[in-house]
Symmetry: C2
Subunit: 272 residues, 2 copies
């Protein structure tokens, strides 16, 4: 069996490279091929670094499939150097500058900004404070400060509360707490006592019994906790609780933490 050479894909940035990766990969998912060899090069901040990257790309272009190059470099000097490479350049910044210059009636500075930098210091501090808050309030560890939460994620064990809480904090600077629902919480119709004053801040997560059972089995194989029966019971009971207290909720089985976070922001009308 012969294998065609992989096509090099470069994600280039004068910052972290995250946006180049994300948007580049979104564009690539539009095509029915995935014979790519992906490389991310962040922090290309000097002309010399840019020229070195161009030499690497030109070397590959000379001997194999033409590399694809997604760039979010902001500096006009760096952009011009990268544009001279022998790859297929997708300039995710430069392409759009002209339209904005016209709309805003001002020339672009051509200086690197820092979308993933400290940026607005107050906003950055509040994101870091939100991470600290999320760590301290994970899994109902500290109930005292629930009043400080902007949202309280409520769910049975292993429905995705913790990573979603972390994502809300890290990405969006939201003060998110979470609260685990356990069997005792289902033995009466009321909301668990610590949540009662804060029902308007609660957002529920559910899952599918099979999916939840799989996830719990990884943690505690063959346990009652991981049984399909127990998972089904907890999820049914949790959803009943959400419905009867008008707590919005979503099923975490087929959505990512990013999607859950975006949905929660939207449904709870949270400003970030």
């Amino acid at each position: 069996m012969t294998t065609a050479a992989l096509r090099p894909v470069y994600f280039l940035s004068d910052s972290t490279g995250i946006t180049a990766e994300t948007l580049g990969n979104t564009l690539l998912t539009q095509f029915p091929v995935d014979n790519f060899d992906r490389v991310t090069i962040p922090f290309i901040t000097t002309a010399e670094q840019a020229r070195s990257v161009v030499r690497t790309i030109d070397g590959l272009a000379a001997t194999g499939p033409q590399p694809l190059v997604f760039s979010t470099a902001v500096s006009s000097e760096i952009r011009q150097i990268l544009a001279g490479c022998k790859g297929v350049i997708v300039d995710l910044i430069g392409t759009h500058v002209g339209v904005l210059e016209q709309a805003l009636g001002a020339p672009a500075s051509g200086e690197p900004g820092r979308a993933h930098g400290l940026g607005n210091a107050a906003r950055y501090q509040s994101r870091m404070a939100a991470v600290e808050y999320a760590m301290e309030h994970d899994d109902g560890q500290s109930l005292r400060a629930l009043e400080k939460a902007q949202v309280i994620l409520v769910a049975p064990s292993r429905c995705g509360k913790t990573p979603t809480t972390m994502y809300l904090a890290l990405q969006h600077g939201i003060f998110a707490a979470n609260f685990p629902l356990v069997d005792e919480d289902f033995q009466h119709d009321g909301l668990p006592k610590p949540l009662r004053p804060f029902v308007s801040k609660c957002f529920g997560l559910s899952s599918n019994p099979l999916r939840l059972s799989q996830i719990r089995t990884e943690r505690r194989p063959s346990s009652p906790y991981a049984s399909l029966r127990q998972c089904g019971f907890e999820l049914r009971s949790a959803e009943q609780l959400y419905v009867s207290h008008r707590i919005p909720y979503l099923n975490s089985a087929t959505v990512s933490v990013e999607e859950m976070a975006a949905t929660i922001l939207q449904r709870m009308n949270l400003k970030h």
Copy 2:
């Protein structure tokens, strides 16, 4: 004093809207104005939803400054509807599809992908496992599983270990542990015992004494812990430790968690 009307800026997406926000804001930082009223609308997945957004934008365009519209919608149907709005459209996907179609010799599907969706299930699971691992190993809580770590962040208290660890896990799926350096660790020249087998996986964080003192003061005002003298001592000692054990390190005082994570990936040659 009269205030000019704020210019509406819309970040539109058929997914979470994070990429539209990030790239749109990077583009806007190129201009010396910031009189923007930003709105993110995620999950625009039907023609009807797209038409409703267009009506909103057209309404604003009729009465105030022309809205700027950054879109990462992937579906060609949604893109066409949004392109008909009376705002200034910056189509962060559609603009680049043609170049890629030509390079790849295939038509784009026009179907929404999911850059922030579950995507590759195995990769998503490993990110979630990395978050769990990071929670369990925060602040040296569990030393047993350090051997499973891909990287161990080492630093005095409050230099940014925890949020950086979380970001490495959530965004990049890296198994990151962290280990706090305390006074006793500076009383001898050796590395703290639990770290000794893993020195090649260690990455140090430092800070500036003044900055660290400010951060610690928020937590424990007027404490010896927060004093400039103690902060200076810990940071000097930590940096000596890093240097003498050839542990790469960076100063966290002026970089964001995203930048720290990207730097750590690059310097430690971690694959994500």
